[in-house]
């Protein structure tokens, strides 16, 4: 399995929240190698099953979210510029002259307008998203043939290999979590498991964990692990709030998570000499685990997070080793069967 290639394929597939189908198709193709029954549910979630089919085997949900942050077309101005609003948390400080892809009847390139230094008089301010103008080169009449309100807009940035094992690309949040799960499934291929596994690539995490809410109900697991990303230390960042890039997966510890699962993940990591880091939170986690834990009558849940720099920017940086180690840890934990003792 070529993990870099999987990350490249997943990163370049489109899946702004609520319109995950292009990324979903790719994910489905990759997941069916391990879960032949995988399919898309009415919310746009991808769900597949594997592992032990005995009735009393514990049922574990592994989740990573399928969607990415982006923008949505709200209007086309008379001069042929596109107005948009954000889908998920977008940093407006970095929108000027940002390369974008607009997905209408066809995909067209565009750029968010900027004011060049030659024309700036006095203090510049960060534009409100409602002031954003996107330039596609087309006139209003031409654009109306291609785009309509509700179409999604994504970042147009390439997949870059950095030094060491680091990668910079858009949508690593949370395509690298999906890749880690696929890697775990690869490691478990042809192995007998003491549990039943449902794999979920969930829609609409960035707009309030909607996919996790419906899929959590449908899957009805005994335990759930949300594999997502978390903040890796950038230059000058607060070490209290951030993990170390390349330091291994971060195991969530929080009042809203199952401490038993956290502890069993830690002992699985220690047992296999897999590097790991604690991610201590004091309440909800901002991940799909917040939905799983209160699904139906309650599900013991935990987070497993991949450290990532520059979250929600067009150039999110991860370490390939962290993705591998996340997959290794998931595989070791599932195989050992000491889930919540």
């Amino acid at each position: 399995m070529n993990l870099t290639e999987i990350l490249r394929i997943l990163s370049q597939a489109e899946g702004v929240s609520g319109w995950e189908s292009p990324a979903g198709e790719k994910a489905l193709e990759l997941l069916r190698d391990y879960c032949p029954d995988a399919k898309i549910d009415p919310s746009g979630n991808i769900i597949g099953h594997m592992g032990n089919t005995l009735e009393n085997a514990p049922h574990i949900l592994l989740d990573a979210h399928l969607d990415q942050v982006g923008l949505i077309v709200t209007a086309i101005t008379d001069e042929g510029f596109v107005r948009a609003d954000h889908v998920g948390g977008i940093d407006m400080r970095l929108m000027p002259a940002q390369n974008l892809l607009l997905h209408g009847k066809k995909t067209i390139p565009g750029v968010a307008a900027s004011v060049p230094p030659h024309l700036i008089g006095g203090e510049q301010k960060v534009l409100d998203v409602t002031e954003l103008l996107i330039d596609t080169g087309y006139s209003k009449a031409e654009l109306e043939e291609i785009l309509s309100p509700g179409d999604r807009i994504s970042f147009d940035t390439p997949f870059q290999i950095l030094q060491g094992d680091r990668i910079a690309a858009r949508s690593m949040d949370d395509r690298c979590g999906m890749a880690a799960i696929l890697y775990a499934l690869e490691l478990l291929k042809n192995k007998t498991l003491p549990c039943k596994v449902s794999v979920l690539f969930s829609a609409q995490e960035e707009v309030g964990e909607c996919g996790a809410e419906t899929a959590g109900y449908t899957i009805n697991p005994d335990m759930a692990i949300a594999v997502d990303v978390t903040f890796a230390m950038g230059h000058g960042d607060d070490p209290v709030k951030c993990g170390k890039l390349g330091g291994g997966p971060m195991i969530g510890i929080s009042p809203t998570l199952s401490r038993e699962i956290s502890d069993s993940l830690i002992s699985a990591a220690e047992g296999q000499n897999i590097p790991w880091q604690p991610e201590v939170m004091s309440g909800t986690t901002g991940t799909n685990a917040d939905r799983f834990s209160v699904s139906r009558g309650g599900v013991r849940s935990c987070t497993l997070s991949i450290p990532l720099r520059y979250m929600h920017t067009p150039s999110e940086v991860i370490s390939l080793g962290d993705v591998e180690n996340t997959g290794r840890l998931l595989a070791a934990w599932l195989k050992e069967g000491h889930y919540a003792e």
Binding site: G137, L143, I161, F231
Partner: protein
Amino acid sequence: MLNEHLKKLCLLCGASGHEKAVRDYILEQIKPYADCVKIDPLGSVIAEKKGAKPSPKKLMVSAHMDEVGLIVTYVNEDGTMQIAPVGGIEASVVIGRPVIVGDVGISGVIGAKPIHLLSGEQRKKLPKFAELYLDIGAENKAEAMKIAPPGTFAHFLPAFAELGGGKVRSKALDDRIGCAIMLTLMAQELPYDVTFAFLVQEEVGLRGAQVAAYTVNPDMAIVLEATTAADLTGAEGDAKVCALGEGPVVSFMDRSTIYDRELYHLAFAECERMGIPCQTKTRIAGGNDSGAIHKSRGGVRTLAISAPCRYLHSPSCVADLQDIENCMKLTYAMIEKAVQI
């Protein structure tokens, strides 16, 4: 041919003082057409081309090879780097962008603290250059020093795209547009002898132009440029400065030069004769190599012909190919008519 040169030139990297890749391409292209080629001590290319007749006045046509970029000023302990702008760049068009670093083209990104970790106040404040840093994925200072020590140049990632309505989106349109026009003109039969100057260091103070104008010692000069267009929704009348699709921009005055009045009127008359649109800049803003050339030695009668260009000095400038073609037609006409004044 014009469009092909433009695309190839835009994909090359040449921040001020680092124009070699652009110069090498130009030298290769002009070899069959130039009668004499010199490279001056600062790196500008001065190429003589014989026309049908010797010119009654010595005419220099110029464009600058350099683009705005970044330079590494310091390597941090954690392997990231501090950077400074080369030429006028707003930090908002740099933050979160992919870049390529050094002569071999190492991939890097400009780090942006994730929006989740910014206070409400921080989200509304544009970043300053001193707060930006470059991340190439290096583990530590020692590794980074081997790859990108202080003084290493970084460039916006080349990504040339065709937009709608015959427009293009790229870095460095300022002033590869002028270079592409000159390369195309040099491959044609010209009515008079012309000296073509491909200049360095425009973006850091018109320095290449200053010395090349001294060396060439022309009677008259035509500067080919890209100039700032602000023709966006919300900009009315003169606030647009100039507009895409409305033809070559001929300025009467900018922040560097008051242009030769007779040449200014002649340019409009020639456009009218040829039936191509022509416009002037409705704000006194920006400047170009004319600022140095018109004051060279005892003075040079100077005109600038510019293609209107949106989002100047960003990774994603937008220009109209028809405007560029019309700039070339006007330049050809001026080569014939201007020297007869």
